[in-house]
Symmetry: C2
Subunit: 301 residues, 2 copies
């Protein structure tokens, strides 16, 4: 089974109460790929500029991530993000964004990737999300993310994307913006009415809620003292969730429940370090050990 | 087994996006009592003024709540609170507070209550909390709450109270203020270092975290669309939790885990209406039905 992700590959500079990291590997597709690669082979599709340090890709060699869809575009510059987390670190404050190559035309899905089973469309223009999706022949599972920019400026296009995917994974602020409602259970049902068969609302340190035809399933985040840098937690959640679903080849409500636990635990490792330093080291065994601890915590007789 | 609660009995005026309720029964001891009375006999200790409408007490006749400790003080006025909830309704905005009788000397524990097994000291001046506690002969379980006012102005006294109780139940904002930290898992351990054998940090719509010698247990809130008025949710949580613990006569970590679920579910009923309208109607059977639904949601294989 194969899992294709389209999204950003960027260079981040992040400050948190625990320190700072300048010019480190980041981007939605990157965090997603490392988390998902614990469970299945990952195919990454994205674009960087000719300024991208090629040694930054070395770390992918340690994981089962196929970079055949990573375009290095001459004359363009790599996406960059500068941000910081303060206080409870539950929301990033963006200090600067240079879209650079992300403001140009999108990447192309390589022929060798068009037979992918699962497709995750990380946040980008919703029209581009559908263009990318249309290049995959007959995916069994398609899921998208989005962000405040597209909800505010391209809502009609986003609704068209939501109408053609099997699932959506977004955070609570985005979900509230999209629906103009506050109650997350009400919002979950509204997301399902937009087309997807399942929806996940991510709440950062407060966990996540899964919505399927069987009703809401709320789970907490993994309780941990080790929160160094929350960057990429949401993308790691999506990567862990969809990596697991791709591995088991099952998208029943029961499988989705088990999958959000893998997402939760994948994210709990990512936030233990800056950039992907911890995510690249984590083993499948460490993930399943923590999954066991987490499920035991929730098993109340 | 008997459960004594000391706290406020007040007259509230509350506005939420779902409407408003003026001059309705409220107060920490009131919400606590209705939730706890699903599980055990409750003994209420508090003071109202001579302006308190006696018909407001009629509703207690429908529950196993002993009002022998409710003092009606001549020449004094009842505590009043005016507040509103907006947006995600996770935090009340106080529009007005008239402490009235709560600014005078505290109540006295009646002789018939001094043999109580469990004592819950709802939020009041921490010195008064200890004075009240000292009037109970040999309680098996003692738990306190507090609030921002005492954390800011009476921290030394509050630490003395925390040093003599078995448990503390406070919300996330208070816990962060008390410890000057953000990470709730780190904070939970700090609370235990202050004396209590267990601590619960309440997070409103995001659930709660229990801390014992066995480590943190995080659970979500019960996911529901029916959130009319969150007033009293935290006190209902404490009431459901301690009512259950008093009923079963067990304070092991496993019992505490089951107890925070009862607290969660008791709160989920309280917020379905203004004031105690829903809380007074709920049955033990309805609570246990919802407990089953909640535990099944969390039982992920």
């Amino acid at each position: 089974m194969s899992l294709l992700v389209t999204g950003s590959i960027g260079i981040d500079s992040v400050a948190t109460p625990h320190g700072k990291a300048d010019d480190v590997l980041g981007g939605t597709a990157v965090y997603f790929s490392f988390a998902a690669s614990n469970f299945t082979r990952v195919r990454l599709v994205g674009v960087v500029g000719d300024d991208f340090p090629s040694e930054m890709l070395d770390v992918f060699a340690r994981r089962d991530v196929d970079l055949a869809g990573l375009e290095r575009r001459e004359g363009s510059k790599t996406f960059r993000w500068q941000g910081k987390f303060v206080g409870d670190m539950n929301e990033a404050e963006t200090l600067g964004v240079d879209l650079n190559v992300l403001a140009e035309h999108g990447p192309k899905i390589p022929d060798s990737f068009t037979d992918s089973d699962t497709v995750f469309l990380a946040n980008t223009h919703p029209t581009l999300q559908r263009e990318l999706l249309s290049q995959v022949k007959s995916p069994k599972l398609t899921v998208c993310d989005s962000m405040n920019l597209w909800i505010a400026n391209e809502k009609e296009e986003l609704l068209k994307t939501l109408a053609v995917v099997d699932g959506v994974i977004i955070n609570d602020g985005e979900a509230r913006q999209l629906t103009d409602r506050y109650n997350l259970v009400e919002i979950g049902d509204m997301l399902l009415d937009m087309g997807p068969k399942f929806a996940v609302i991510k709440k950062g340190e407060h966990g996540a809620i899964l919505f399927t035809s069987e009703g809401p399933v709320a789970i907490p985040a993994f309780p941990t003292k080790t929160v160094v840098d929350p960057t990429g937690a949401g993308d790691s959640f999506a990567g862990g969730m969809l990596g697991y679903l791709t591995e088991i080849g099952d998208t029943s409500p029961a499988a989705l429940r088990r999958a959000i636990v893998r997402g939760t635990i994948a994210a709990s490792f990512t936030i233990e370090s800056f950039s992907i330093n911890r995510a690249v080291e984590v083993t499948r065994e460490q993930i399943e050990d923590r999954v066991k601890t987490f499920l035991a915590m929730l098993r109340i007789e």
